[in-house]
């Protein structure tokens, strides 16, 4: 199933990702307050958490320039690049005709040969989750697309994203290249609906989701989609609805309306007015008419189709749209199923009880981070071996998937299989002897069937063609493996014979034939076919050469899995916007025959309209198969060699270049078969048995036939990529306050692939009193390798009103504050910050940094008089671990911690001297489905005569417009913000967060959604003290007695309280706390803050 988040909404994230440097963000923030050297040093020392975007590969980029685009690719998957250029040029013509628009510039399009390499792109700094199929950005029109193993899907994503580039060009009239002003965003349902409309039609899974929503009244109101797209719980459905809506507009008001829609739109126009102008209909009316249209389309299906629940028993039902149970496979005794499960927070391999769907064992409990980065949640990535005690599953570890083997007896991982050159592993299937396992591996820009011998470790490649293969299934005797293979846009089922090394077509129809499963007797294949556009179960009798229909469902069926005795099967279906698992008794043979007749007779006319399954001519398709439903119908089943000579040679060449160590099964025979001369080959293709075999070959040439013949990839100008810095965007702002004129410029540059990034921040300040003071920070970061390096040079001036006339010793306030000015103080900080970060894996990293900060404070007016100065040379190292699952309002599970050690070096008199130690540990345990217990312990010590001072007190982390934010160690609620200060701080936090509301939509004023409201109950305990004080741990400080920093003894402070956490545009916290020593309680104090909970 295509992921709902196929198109990353980069436009929403660009500006947040633009200021990558910590200092730049700090300085930007400091525009409204003051930043001193402590803040800068502290930001270096306390780098913070976050997972790593690990750059595993050293990419080798080239690009070609075609008529309308630039395509960036690596030579190792040049075939894919050729497809991409042809597809994109075709898409350009198609979309250009729809939009009646030519792009103002050639968009640079970057393709990756797998999703895991795509995740390493630096064009966007955000982490790209597994479901993202590609993105396009408006600043420089870059499109970034990975190959997922299926050329059709790849093509579809290319078309989708190219439509976005056209949309940007129409709306923004060229690459945006600015980061300050809002980027124009038409409603997302329009943007995504158009992009989907530009691609080819829906597949059966898409239709399944839409049909279910219509039949179960789960459609998302258009008004809600229009206003709250980002918070929709079922984004996949929203995409499908948008697609369908756009199709409805095109069908009923003319296709030209789709092209006009963005021209009618402008930033000031709301969607109602836009639709009125476009189709003379408001949003509500359009929604009503479209829904009526959909009901008319789908409701008649109920007449002659069955709900799956009429045929089968529900095993387990997902609790909500966030939950999913997938890839079921049977235990040896048939009492249990292994499944992939997710509850929207975590993903696991679970063993559930067949009889009630309840969890009986969690195989992957606690494995994440120690054994793998993340579970691979793809089709069929869990398989229970026929030996009954081995479960194989797939996880990503480092740059590629690995296959893990879990032993139920030993309750431990027994093997981890890595396959060189194979990045994505899907669709596992064990051989009957449990000594071989078949899977679909994607690498080198294509997906193929592989078989691994568990004992010897030998890996055999069964197929080697560019088409997508899926769902391998061993026959009961282990001699044949059946699999689905895409041929000219649709899946057939083929079988590979291990003895002869030949492949023959087993099932072929004009629609997709998927998920083959052998019945135990070995002469029948159960499979899913998309006849009439709905996935249903069929059975193919290999000896009779005849198919039987088993179901005629409304919702459709996915991923059937037969029990070991062949008497039952589990299957997935989609119902009430949820994917559910059902158990069905496999009918006996007489019952199958009777049922097939009954189902066929139910809608004869429909079947006729579909066409009898199935007779295809040799000249129509490379696969020559005759299948009929008549009793006497015979099918021509051709044994085939698997590879064309050119294809085999080309592939071997590719493998050699990629140093792939696999055995290519049957290549010798294939090569021999093709050692005939051209004449012989031609003769064979015309007829004859051998010719039939040859003609069934899905050769590379066949695939390329579909390419645009007018484009010759080899003749396109090709160049090696060399980094060149270009503007991503620029922001200019002018300001005037209290006699000061300020010109702020932010500038961001990077190379096309984002490996080199430069950010610049300048603030030119002028007034009557001072002039020509330039504040700037320039940050360069290199992301091109696994370690990242960053250097920042800065000169930062700040001005303060001297209210006491005694210079910096007295009170001074930011310029513009309402205090009497007796002078003007200037704080100038300049220096260099150098950082290096090495990610050990996604979750762990080591940081090293050197910071030099020179700070001078002087009276700038009315006289120019130096007051204080100091320099700091600080070295720091830190170890960071972060494996949290994050929710909208805060972490939901996992843990994070860091250890940081820093030391200054005194080179000259006046240099600061201190050592820094910090440990921060946070653990989040789930209490039920959504509730979380968060625990945190942190200790900070800045030891030495010039140690930094950290603050304590107040809410979670961020009060708007409060300076010195980075010095506050954390929440100590019930106390004023940063009430306590000291060179040593300890803090303990505990908080239980419980969900109150999820996804509530308001209709007034206007339609808006609040995705989450949580309640919290917390207890905090902390204290700050200096080196000349001692800390008494118990009793706690009396909540009604104020302390003084001059006290010799410091005590810990405690508080308890509750809060309300609301996500509305951003996380907001309303917290109420009382100080306490667990004997006395103070009055309540309320805090308001932004940001996620700790």
């Amino acid at each position: 199933m295509q992921d709902p988040a196929r198109c990353y909404r980069i436009a929403d994230r660009l500006r947040s990702g633009m200021l990558q440097g910590g200092l730049a963000a700090l300085l930007s923030f400091a525009m409204v307050g003051g930043v001193n050297a402590q803040d800068i040093l502290s930001s270096q020392l306390r780098g913070g958490f976050g997972m790593n975007k690990v750059r595993y590969k050293d990419f080798d980029w080239q690009f070609v320039e075609s008529e309308h685009l630039l395509l960036y690719f690596e030579p190792e998957f040049e075939d894919l690049a050729e497809h991409a250029v042809a597809d994109l040029e075709e898409a350009y013509d198609h979309i250009s005709a729809i939009m009646r628009h030519e792009l103002s510039t050639k968009p640079p399009i970057v393709i990756f040969k797998s999703h895991y390499e795509f995740q390493q792109t630096n064009i966007i700094q955000a982490f790209l989750p597994p479901g993202v199929a590609g993105f396009a950005e408006p600043l420089r029109y870059r499109m970034v697309i990975p190959f997922n193993g299926d050329l059709e899907d790849f093509r579809s994503v290319l078309w989708h994203e190219l439509m976005h580039i056209f949309q940007y060009d129409v709306v923004n009239r060229g690459p945006v290249r600015r980061i300050s002003n809002p980027i124009a965003n038409p409603p997302t349902w329009i943007v995504e609906g158009m992009a989907e409309y530009a691609t080819e039609g829906m597949n059966t899974i898409d239709e399944m989701v839409l049909r279910d929503a219509v039949l179960t009244d789960q459609l998302i109101p258009l008004e809600v989609m229009n206003s709250s797209w980002n918070y929709l719980p079922n984004l996949f459905l929203a995409y499908k609805q948008s697609h369908s809506l756009m199709g409805y507009i095109a069908a009923n008001f003319g296709p030209e309306k789709v092209g006009r829609i963005l021209r009618v739109w402008d930033q000031q126009t709301d969607t109602d007015k836009l639709l009125k102008r476009l189709i003379d209909m408001d949003m509500k009316t359009l929604d009503e008419r479209w829904q009526a249209h959909m009901r008319k389309q789908y409701w008649p299906l109920l007449k002659d189709r069955d709900y799956v629940s009429e045929l089968a028993t529900r095993v387990v039902q997902a609790e909500d749209v966030h939950s999913l149970y997938a890839s079921p496979d049977w235990s040896l005794g048939g009492d249990m199923l292994s499944v992939l499960s997710t509850d929207g927070v975590e993903q696991h391999v679970d063993i559930i009880r067949l009889s009630n769907g309840k969890l009986v064992q969690r195989v992957t409990e606690g494995m994440r981070t120690s054994e793998f980065d993340e579970l691979t949640f793809n089709d069929g990535t869990v398989a229970w071996a026929p030996d009954g005690h081995t479960i194989a599953f797939v996880a990503k570890r480092g740059p590629a998937d690995v296959m893990l083997s879990w032993d139920l007896y030993d309750e431990e991982l027994t093997d981890v299989f890595e396959f060189e050159g194979i990045e994505i592993i899907e669709n596992l299937d064990w051989g009957p002897d449990s000594r071989r396992i078949a899977f679909i591996g994607t690498g080198y820009g294509q997906s193929d069937v592989y078989v691994r011998d568990i004992n010897t470790g030998a890996l055999t490649q069964i197929t080697g063609s560019p088409q997508r293969e899926d769902h391998p299934s061993f026959s009961p005797d282990g001699r044949t493996i059946a699999f689905s293979v895409k041929n000219r846009g649709q899946f057939d089922i083929r079988g590979y014979d291990f003895e002869t090394g030949k492949t023959r077509t087993l099932v072929a129809s004009p629609r997709d034939d998927l998920w083959p499963e052998w019945l135990p007797e070995g002469n029948k294949l159960l499979f899913v076919s998309t006849r009439n556009g709905i996935n249903d179960l069929f059975l193919w009798h290999l000896e009779q050469q005849r198919e039987y229909r088993l179901t005629r469902t409304v919702s459709g069926i996915m991923g059937p899995s037969l029990s070991p005795d062949g008497k039952q099967l589990v299957l997935s279906t989609y119902y009430h916007s949820r994917r559910e698992l059902y158990r069905m008794d496999m009918p006996s043979w007489p019952e199958i025959q009777r049922q097939s007749k009954e189902l066929a007779s139910r809608v004869q006319s429909d079947e006729k309209a579909e066409g009898p399954p199935i007779a295809r001519e040799a000249d129509d398709d490379a696969t020559v198969v005759m299948i009929t439903t008549g009793d006497t119908g015979a099918a021509a089943m051709e044994a085939t060699t698997r590879l064309g000579l050119d294809e085999a040679v080309a592939m071997l060449d590719r493998k050699a270049r990629g140093n792939q160590a696999v055995k290519l099964a049957g290549v010798t025979e294939s090569a021999e078969s093709f050692s005939l001369g051209d004449d012989s080959l031609s003769a064979n293709l015309v007829g004859g048995e051998q010719g039939s075999e040859l003609s069934t070959l899905p050769s590379l040439a066949d695939e390329i036939d579909g390419l645009d013949a007018s484009i010759s990839f080899d003749t396109l100008p090709r160049r090696r990529y060399t980094p060149k810095l270009e503007f991503d965007g620029i922001s200019l702002q002018m300001g005037y306050y209290s006699g000061f004129l300020s010109g702020v410029a932010q500038l961001s540059m990077s190379d096309l692939l984002g490996n080199h990034s430069v950010n610049m921040f300048t603030d030119y300040v002028g007034s009557q009193e001072i002039n020509n003071d330039l504040t700037f920070a320039v940050d360069y970061t290199y992301y091109g390798g696994r370690p990242t390096y960053s250097v920042t040079v800065f000169n930062w001036n700040q001005y303060f009103n001297d209210t006491s006339g005694t210079g910096p010793v007295g009170g001074y306030y930011p310029v513009g504050a309402n205090q009497l000015t007796r002078g003007l103080i200037r704080s100038r900080q300049s220096g260099v910050l150098a950082d290096a970060t090495y990610p050990l894996d996604v979750y762990r990293r080591i940081e090293l940094s050197y910071s030099f900060v020179d700070e001078a404070i002087e009276i700038a007016w009315p006289v120019n008089q130096p007051q204080e100065s100091s320099s700091t040379h600080l070295f720091k190292t830190a170890y960071v671990h972060d494996s949290l699952n994050n929710g909208l309002l805060g972490p939901t599970s996992g843990r994070r911690y860091y250890l940081s050690v820093g030391r200054t070096v005194v080179l000259t008199d006046g240099d600061r001297s201190f050592a820094h130690l910090e440990a921060d540990y946070r653990h989040y345990s789930r209490l039920g489905r959504w509730s979380v217990l968060g625990l945190r312990a942190v200790g900070v010590g800045s030891l030495g005569p010039d140690g930094l001072h950290y603050n304590l007190g107040g809410p979670a982390w961020f009060l708007p417009f409060f300076p010195g934010y980075n010095l506050n160690v954390g929440p100590l609620r019930g106390f004023p913000y940063s009430e306590f200060s000291g060179s040593r701080v300890v803090l303990f936090n505990s908080e239980v967060r419980v969900p109150f509301i999820r996804n509530i939509t308001f209709a007034w004023p206007g339609v808006f959604s609040i995705p989450a409201i949580d309640g919290s109950f917390f207890a905090d305990l902390g204290g700050a003290w200096n080196g000349n004080q001692s800390l008494d741990l118990w009793p706690l400080q009396d909540p009604n007695v104020r302390t003084s920093p001059l006290d010799i003894t410091a005590r810990l402070h405690g508080s308890v309280g509750f809060g309300l956490l609301v996500y509305f545009l951003a996380p907001m916290n309303f917290e109420f706390a009382r100080r306490t020593d667990f004997k006395e309680f103070s009055d309540w104090r309320m805090h308001f803050s932004f940001g996620k909970a700790f």
Binding site: L332, G333, G334, D335, G388, D565
Partner: protein, 259 residues
């Protein structure tokens, strides 16, 4: 890797064993063959004192492991049935010195790892039973017995499961094998004696009970998909013994304290 080769070699030579994986739901030929072909050899092992080294000496490798007092280890006979005296059941059979030596060597070959493996299989089976998955437990034990036929605990546990599933004859065979493999284990003999006592009652039952039993089973199937009811139906002919056997709740209660 586990060194199952030797054990497997012994068993693979028996064609009867290879049919075990097919899990016949009725008829006893397959397991009777096993018992018949191996009983002599296993009997010979009984003369060895291997309780201190064998897998079966430990309490944790048996489904009976958690039963605290020894007298409660065996399944209780139904009311009115007196257990036979232990000495009245001949457990040992003569064996030639060559056979004894060969089997002793085989047994000595068993590594600690293999013994651990048997223990884990039993633990897994125990876990299955805890979750009420008797079919799952049965097939795992059958598979394990194919690989290691010298483990008394596997046979004993298979006997318990077969008895629970209403397969009394198979259960008797398994108990008998377990007792012969490890005659020092009182629980195995107790199980065998108790089951034999039950089987002796079968002859005393009236044929009319068959009809009653079938009707009861049909009713039970419609109301409760209990393994006993299902097996009695799918297995074909119901026996008088099944009718007289403890009911479902009785069996669960019996096992509740033992497994």
């Amino acid at each position: 890797m586990w060194k199952w080769g030797l054990m497997a070699g012994i068993l693979v030579s028996s064609s009867a064993c290879q049919s075990v994986a097919r899990r016949p739901s009725s008829g006893a030929a397959w397991w009777e063959e096993i018992a018949g072909s191996e009983s002599t050899a296993h009997d010979s092992l009984a003369s060895r004192d291997y309780t201190s080294t064998g897998t079966d000496s430990g309490a944790t490798d048996s489904l009976l492991r958690s039963t605290p007092p020894q007298p409660a280890l065996a399944l209780s006979p139904p009311e009115g049935v007196s257990p036979a005296h232990p000495d009245s059941i001949p457990l040992l059979a003569p064996v030639s010195p060559e056979e004894l030596r060969a089997l002793q060597e085989d047994y000595d070959e068993r590594t600690q790892q293999e013994r651990e493996r048997v223990k884990r299989v039993n633990e897994y089976v125990y876990w299955c039973i805890e979750h009420g998955m008797w079919d799952e437990a049965q097939i795992h034990l059958e598979q394990a017995v194919q690989i290691d036929s010298l483990s008394a605990s596997l046979h004993n546990n298979l006997g318990i499961i077969n008895e629970r599933l209403g397969k009394r004859s198979q259960a008797e065979s398994s108990y008998r094998l377990a007792s012969r493999l490890n005659p020092d284990k009182k629980e195995y003999r107790t199980n065998l004696r108790r089951l034999r006592s039950l089987l002796e009652q079968r002859d005393a039952l009236d044929d009319s009970v068959v009809v009653t039993r079938t009707q009861s089973a049909l009713k039970a199937r419609s109301e409760d998909e209990s393994p006993t009811a299902r097996d009695s139906l799918t297995g074909g002919k119901a026996t008088p013994m099944q009718e007289k056997s403890p009911g479902k709740s009785q069996i669960q209660n019996d096992n509740a304290g033992k497994v």
